[in-house]
Amino acid sequence: MRPGLWGVVNERYPGSMITKTDFVPLAKLKKPLSESRLTFVSTSGVQPKGTLPFDTVHPIGDYTFRRVPSDSKLSDLEIHQLKYPTAGAEKDLNVIFPVKRLQELTKEKVLGGLARNFFSFIGYNMDAERLEKTLAEDIADAVEAEKPDVCLLAPA
């Protein structure tokens, strides 16, 4: 991580630093990846075309998520996100939302399969409590309902 990064963040966004002490331990893999069904959770703001765009203008954030079918084509998807450079992702969405790569890994039997849906939301959320107790819980419930064996988490 770039030295002094947190200092810059705190200077530009005072009060944004959150301290956590009660980390949930990561679950151990119970079977090989080649036998596991994978889902994917991303803060990229990627969503199926035609769904309500993420609310990128709201000053406090958007606490909703979108299901993204794991068999989506890249042309089915779009990004609604203001807070990170999307130029590269607009050229090839796989750089932040590797749907095609995961489909390929499944065909190549590196992965056992993909859950029906992936999940996406935007990371610009100023209400940490709502983020944790509403959005994170909602996504966790939705992920659980898909019965995946593994979950790939990726910030954008």
Binding site: P14, S16, L82
Partner: protein, 96 residues
């Protein structure tokens, strides 16, 4: 900035802290850029009215009179980005 930080600013009447937050939001973390963005949106709105074009006053009045203040506040933020987009100078890395 966390929500708690902003609520404390409201409680203590620290308007400078609040407007700084708005500027940072509009300027993608750059306060000076945010100030320019606010000006840009207002200039764009003004330019559209210089020739006194026909506008839908009924819609404007009905919207103001019949819509809750929270939704209007949300619309206010949305309109900022709408006019910034119309200006043709988009400083943001992504899109709404």
């Amino acid at each position: 900035m966390s929500l708690q930080y902003l609520k404390e600013a409201v409680s203590s009447g620290d308007t400078e802290r609040l407007i700084r937050y708005v500027r940072l939001h509009f300027g993608d973390g750059n306060e000076d850029a945010g100030k320019k963005e606010i000006d840009k949106a207002w200039i764009e709105a003004l330019k559209l009215l210089l020739d006194v074009p026909a506008t839908n006053r009924e819609f404007v009045e009905r919207t103001i009179n019949e819509t809750d203040a929270e939704t209007l506040a949300h619309l206010y933020f949305r309109l900022h980005f709408y006019f910034v987009g119309r200006s043709g100078e988009w400083i943001h890395d992504g899109r709404v």
